[in-house]
Subunit: 329 residues, 2 copies
């Protein structure tokens, strides 16, 4: 994801600020984006550049660090590689486009088992095969921890580009499929109890949902940090508010099961979890049927009350919670 | 650089093998490069993809790890950022092209000083400004070491694409400018003695030399691991041999000075050093004057004796040494 880091930590805010403001954010001159074909730089799921045709180029990158993004006690090497592909493809899909070319950089521990390395690459190639992506290059180096960086290119027709901005007051909030399973699986793994972990270890993005929806949605984002966080992003970009109906949120069965095992509200996994790689979109009321026909689920509505985000349930309205914090949870 | 790792370490050879053979290298089916516009995948300075016009897209990535590629005791943060840009631009230049868009991923230590981070980004933006590159996005995460990954796109006219392969027997070996300064500076820093370190801390690539030479050279590569290594790459790709005349190798003044301080042969810095970001190319004897007019220097010739690489000096012929090994030196 591209700088999807509001409210996370000091350095993250700083880099966010720097990238949004270019070199000006550092007190220098120039922005690094001097108009040479950059349509959208930072601040969306992927960058967008002119291709000199009826399409744009899309580009995104994700860095996965052992211990934070994955843990080889829980993940197989194949799952690590596959997840790296899915998280990047999800960003391209959230722009309405399709992925094309991938570069992979890896930092290896000197004592790394070659079978682990092979497993990671099997996962990378399997993900590329699934999504029609060509792995065209990379870089390899050594260090004290394992780091995998994927940079992924994609394309999208100009008239189907879906940005985070574009929602209008009264637009409906739709989600492309069940959520909460990834966060629920992580919670199970951390607890040491028996329960469903598959949705955390094998997350899959939803390219067909994104491509079809790109014909009519007004704004779209993938679920990296939980539905609450993504709804806030879409609302914030359009200076709107939002109301989300808790009981309408489609939940993975695994989230429900994990909630039972751990005594937690499964909707919280969907709202403030992450890495489900489903999509959240703003849909005009006129297009409600189109979204429903694709299997998307309506969970709320954008309002003209900028910055006012509510979760609605039987007991009334409460503030919409925040997103997943990779460093506090 | 793209998998420029022959003879380095077990894992590097393994990844090299995997990327050259795609998924087949792992015993599975498919290659991840299923013909969808990939002109050159791994094995050159950058990947090359169809753009649907008279140009190709180029893509390269480099991961820099604290302690291996840079050391904040020696480098200023600005120099770290700048070097990350230069090393990637150099790969695009070595294809005959020009850089366009950059994505940056960083892994930060939790206690990182914000001023260090700002310095790194200032270096990144200054490098982007110099080379006309737009920094369009990135990713940020935390970990126990600082890691910076740059992914850089570029373009090149189809008729000016310069691959590593393409040299013919009798072609002249040219280098674009003085070399050895970066390795000499590193040697000085490691020795703790006074001497010239600028060429190591502030390496600059040579875009104009590459763009002009792309009109006529038959093969080209940037000097990442020393002239000897790059000559071997060009020869190997064309199943040729090579003779390099030691006394003709253009040396940075700093390499000569450092050799004096440390009692070492300065030509060794040029031959087996690295990160000079000058270019080595195969030039037809018919184009000798064109290369000379650009300020390039003739240092040898490719032969039809595949795999026979010689260094020639007053005392006769000796085997051409190997390249820089990031893990042994």
């Amino acid at each position: 994801m591209i700088m999807d880091l509001e409210g996370v930590g000091g350095e993250f805010d700083l880099i966010d600020h720097i990238l949004r403001n270019g070199k000006d954010g550092l007190g220098g001159g120039g922005t690094g984006e001097d108009g040479s074909g950059v349509v959208v730089g930072t601040g969306d799921d992927a960058a967008v550049m002119e291709l000199g045709s009826d399409r744009y180029i899309l580009a995104t990158t994700d860095m996965m660090v052992e211990g934070d993004h994955f843990n080889l006690d829980w993940y197989s090497p194949h799952q690590v590689g596959r997840k790296a592909v899915e998280s990047n493809v999800s960003d391209i899909v959230a722009m309405g486009g399709w992925p094309t070319y991938m570069l992979v950089s890896v930092c290896l521990k000197p004592d790394m088992d070659p079978d682990v390395l092979k497993g990671v690459y099997r996962g990378l190639y399997d993900g590329c095969d699934t999504h029609g992506v060509a792995l065209v290059g990379g870089d390899t180096t050594h260090g004290p921890i394992t780091v995998i960086n994927v940079a992924l290119l994609g394309e999208v027709e100009k008239n189907r580009l879906c940005l985070r901005k574009g929602a209008r007051p009264g637009d409906l909030i739709f989600v492309s499929g069940p959520t909460g399973g990834s966060a629920a699986g992580l919670d199970i793994l951390r607890s040491g109890k028996d329960g469903p972990v598959e949705d955390h270890l094998n997350p899959r993005c939803n390219p067909d949902a994104g491509r079809e929806a790109s014909r009519f949605v007004r704004a779209m984002i993938d679920v990296s940090d939980g539905i609450a966080s993504e709804v806030r992003h879409l609302a914030n970009q359009a200076k709107l508010g939002a109301r989300v109906y808790k009981d309408r949120i489609p939940l993975d069965n695994s989230a429900v099961l994990a909630g039972g095992v751990l005594g937690k509200d499964p909707a919280r996994y969907a709202l403030s979890g992450g890495e489900d790689y489903e999509l959240v979109a703003a849909v005009s009321p006129d297009d409600r049927e189109r979204a429903v026909d694709l299997g998307w689920v309506e969970i709320g509505q954008f309002t003209n009350k900028a910055g006012e985000y509510f979760l609605v349930d039987d007991e009334g309205e409460t503030p919409l919670p925040g997103g997943y914090d990779h460093f506090k949870n």
